[in-house]
Assembly symmetry: D2
Homo-oligomer: 406 residues x 4
């Protein structure tokens, strides 16, 4: 028999770049009793989370919440705005950008995939100048949308979205601008309105600290207008009826009530801490993590310091070392889960997540598990990364912690 | 500020026909820590729930679990098997059959809607002979699928699915057979394989006693073959990659881990009680509920005793009584939620759910709340329905309860 | 193997007069992580609950919280204030008064037990005139304390404590006045200061809606002074060091942290609803319960309407009916727990609890279970008690319910 | 307003030597619904935990479970077996031995306190030869009991209880032998029967991983016989009625139901892992912790390696460093709670707990917090303790972890 609630003594350390550990506060909120999704209390809940989530996206425009995981929200962005055969300009930052592009093909769109050659594109952010050049060349405006990933979860690179916006504007191109910030939201600064994004796609299981199961489309007026003429068939994902019913806090079909409880709690936690404090906390932990990797003498997947991710750090193994074998050893010996290498970098690197409900000592635990595991796996380390991270954290004070008593 | 965890003394009685009350056991299981969805423990979890759910559908064929609510599983059934413009024969049993038909239209299909005239179809089950006649007339086999609802949640009618299968066979028609048993599964007997259903659609928030958020497609070999040639665009809902990765207990995208914990617990509860005991329990509570409605002198929405639903009972108000005003009074005075009338019967009836984690005294509480509320609303009742239900329950012993100690 | 988390479908109805059902809000609060009981957050928690609990006792004097169940708080009241061989005047209201008296004997005190003859004293409240007469006769003031039970849990009688105070004053007697309101607190009005009580004993598992495990002594200045000269040995129960350390919110030994979380939540719930609303709610449900018993044609244990308990109702069986056999049948058939008859009334009566986190429909469920069970047990009932209770509840509107949204 | 459920991002690290962190499994078990403590399911629960706890004490004799915290169980041991004025030989291992001795005085006993001079006794275990000599001198057998602490929580010294038994036997003295293993049980090997202990005192909040609130007396036949003639007054703590009612799994007064749920889960966890594995795990983590302290160049409170505690490690500060100021800095900067110095060593040392639900990376997190904090506090460290602990843990493989799937 499967025993889910088994017990190796002590807590498991889940340091993958999402799903991130769900705080007890949120688990408790998710255990509130399910209520009538047509009753008055639900409407109040709906209005409250729909209002709060806008603050996270930094938008005053509609944010649609789907009772579905993040991949669905990718599909929603495309099917609501585009028509069969439409050309879409996408940029290859890594594995998830590649999956989104494959989805566009499956849906009958014609994606064009920009990027640097080889794995180079997987080590740098979006090259806005390449996008600008391509759009300038599209004098007939055949390209209907530009799609990029904000925080590429497979590599640990956080691209400059404002720069892409400037590139589109510089080219004077009318394409819709769509951004996936599934793993970036509530970890790194994100500004849907200021950056002129038309559809922002996100999910629950990263910076929002929820289990997977709900996902988001933040939608500009331009995107809403595009949806009226878009011909890709859609029903579950269709914005129109959701946006309409959301005005009263309801949904056209059964919403994911218990995850909305969790979202309400997450919003209270994040907005209570303050978005800027949340971002600073992520940056500080990421810097400590990179200090460790550098001290070990290992390479970081992201080679451009301007776009280091505050969410996760990709660690490249020396030649001849199977990253997944190292991960397995660490998992079995030290009860620590790390992210696997995906796609082009499978077996070559692993990923340390330091997002969401993380703090100094949880990161130190993860780094200690990595350091012991790397040594046991026979990887030669230059010096102690744990020591380097401790130096960093001790020297850089964190933002003031929230207190139990006001 | 919104206070979700507020306190009117005592428990709320949630007697809508779904989402049904989530048992504490399942809420606790859902609070297990989120794990790496690519790690070894997840694979074991995945294989276990994929195996268990087949027993509930009574199938040995694949069951796809979506991290999305039930409406999505409707879309999945259609987009995986059909092509733009395909003719589909659907049957109007009530509001949800109507919504599924509208979805088919939105997706670019050509649904034909059979049914009895007026609201008559909303008070009886699927008329299999009408389906047989229509299929016999379709000598060119233009109709690609027959879609019916097993338990119509808007009315409280549980149609005879085996009879529809016999009708299709009698007509010698090759159409796919698709059934929605979102609210019927794990409440009323359902036999995906024996009844020759090609796609069965279901959800989590009814007989499975989970919060909304996961949904199902049980798939026949014939449906899988159809999916290879089906031209409706699809990505998130696409069966192929899911079925392939499910062989090892994984999913192509992030699954809804915590709801899968809940599903595992639900399967243990339901299979531990025994499906036949679960069905008998639902039938007995439904009969007690109908005894109450009859004693009140009110009409039951379903007029054919052969297809009374074990899941819910629709109660028709006398002329001039606004059913929603009665529901509101009951909600405010007695902390009891009842289902609203939907679509054609809005304001004319309300629905009492007696599904999932329900027992004798929870039903008695609900009936007492209804009886007090109806009287306070000025509805003349013939005699005490509560008394009639007590007579029924006292005279009909339930199946043996599970015990704490084996 | 023992399976604690087993599943007879639906909720168990726990309608014993305590431990009462613990609301989910409190269970969730009790699952907050255990903290350092010497750290700053604990001090804030301690001060908060020590302040809140005073409002429940209606006192401005110290309330000591023991990490022990209620029986211990009885012992604390006696050992802190009395010396070996001291005479104590106690009053026999029922089983719990008898147990307290036995404890006094075990501790080397000399209790004198007043009361009406036979079981008569178990059907009425404390006769204050008997106490006054006895104290007047004690001209030498040999009696050091008067001990009475406020709400006698074994019978459903709530004595008039103010009247006992007046009796002591009228007799001009200096004895300490000690009151057990273990099951009365937060159900029936109680005024430690106004009524001049010297030690009030209470517990967590009744009106406070917590699991058993903490208990209370509210202490007058007179009692504190008495404790300085009292010679009964004591350590764990000793007030002095606790009262001293409580000033900063700490305890001399390890406190029951997680139950204090629960207490904090309970205080927020009760004070949020308002004590007067809480009392009115209890009175209303008790009246509905008695309407049912009366309609059944059965006798209520308490024969004096002036002291009917708002907490529980004792129901006397007709001659020849074994009350425990009826309880067993109801438990097994209807998943409802009722209180057994204790001591002198064992087998003669059972007790229906309607305290704490109870509401109209939970009471109706309990009464329906009783009515069905009594009939199945062959007890002849005059008419439907369920009907009578519905009449009462429908005709008497409750206090406004708390709302989710302010 | 007090906000208990506040959020500094990430988990707090509670590394005090008890209360130890309560695993989620136990918190979930504690949230099972409270049941009738006189009903059949409770009896099954009672028998189950009473049986399981004997395995932890390694006894076949009665173990009494009190609904009270550990200090109460000290009192129970004394009051059940002794009479006013009895001489008791106690041994000063540290602060808790001192508190127990003070309690004996409060209860009217005549404790004699053996020990090495100054703080020397606080750095070594019980000197069995001193006990033997003292008992040999007591030719009149005036000493009625010998009381020692197994694991002294204030110092981190685990005394050799078998040696004390041998000393008593060698002296041919009939005194009762009482042992406090409040913090040792389920962390270090303990053998109530084999070591001939008459009363073993323990609590819930250490190796058993429960919140505080229940405590234990394991009782020999000799102690039970002594209790029949013992004259100290007692009621709540009295063994006789509890032992009698425990035969059927019940208690004479309201037991702490929800903590017994937790105990049942704890027993399943501990016995499932295997006591020997549990002890080995504690020893290994303690050794890693000491490796860190030694590398730092700091002194360990315990100077005798034969009696190093597997539960906690006391770390002595260099002269002039206030240990509590260091603790405060660590708490505020790194969200880590450490144990304060108590009694004679207040301000001179702090304590790192590594007991109960602890694992390699939780210990590493704690050591990293200490190392950063010590440096920030200006304490000169010889080398990295974190590095030394990593070396130890990497070189010493742990016992096999339990697996989710059998």
């Amino acid at each position: 028999m499967l025993k889910l609630d088994f017990h190796p003594a002590g807590r498991h350390f889940l340091q993958i770049p999402g799903p991130s550990p769900v705080p007890d506060r949120i688990l408790r909120a998710m255990s509130y009793p399910t209520i009538d999704h047509r009753g008055p209390e639900f409407g109040a809940l709906g209005l409250s989370v729909l209002d709060g989530i806008k603050k996270i996206f930094k938008t005053t425009q509609p944010v649609v919440i789907y009772p579905a995981s993040g991949t669905g929200a990718w599909e929603a962005a495309l099917t609501n705005t585009l028509s069969p055969g439409d050309a879409v300009l996408m940029y290859e930052t890594g594995h998830f950008a590649t999956l989104w592009k494959k989805m566009a093909e499956s849906l009958g769109l014609k994606p064009e995939f920009l990027g640097l050659p080889g794995v180079e594109g997987w080590r740098r952010g979006v090259q806005a100048d390449m996008i600008e050049a391509r759009l300038r060349a599209d004098t007939g405006h055949a390209i209907k949308a530009v799609c990029v990933v904000h925080n590429e979860t497979s590599t640990g690179v956080t691209s400059d979205i404002a720069a892409v916006r400037r590139a589109i504007d510089a080219a004077g191109h009318p394409a819709l601008f769509m951004v996936d910030t599934i793993s970036g939201l509530a970890c790194a600064d994100y500004r849907h309105d200021e950056w002129g994004v038309d559809v922002t796609v996100s999910g629950s299981q990263k910076g929002l600290m929820l289990p997977p199961g709900i996902s988001f489309n933040a939608i500009s007026q331009k995107a809403l207008e595009a949806s009226r003429g878009a011909l890709l068939p859609r029903a579950f994902w269709s914005w129109a009826e959701i946006v309409e019913m959301n005005k009263d806090g309801y949904w056209p079909y059964t919403p994911n009530t218990n995850l909305l409880y969790g979202l309400s709690e997450a919003l209270e936690m994040i907005l209570g801490e303050g978005l800027d404090n949340v971002f600073a906390r992520h940056r500080r932990l990421a810097a400590a993590c990179r200090a460790a990797v550098t001290a070990w003498g290992l390479e970081i997947q992201c080679v451009d310091p301007a776009v280091y991710s505050p969410v996760l750090t990709g660690v490249i193994m020396p030649d001849g070392v199977d990253a997944d074998a190292v991960r397995k050893l660490i998992y079995e010996r030290f009860d620590l889960s790390l992210g696997t290498g995906l796609g082009k970098v499978r077996g070559r690197m692993f990923r340390i997540g330091h997002l969401g409900d993380c703090n100094d000592l949880a990161l130190m635990a993860a780094l200690a598990g990595c350091e012991m595991g790397l040594r046991l796996a026979g990887v030669t380390l230059r010096e102690s990364g744990v020591g380097a991270a401790m130096d960093y954290l001790a020297q850089h004070e964190s933002a003031p912690r929230l207190k139990a008593v006001a």
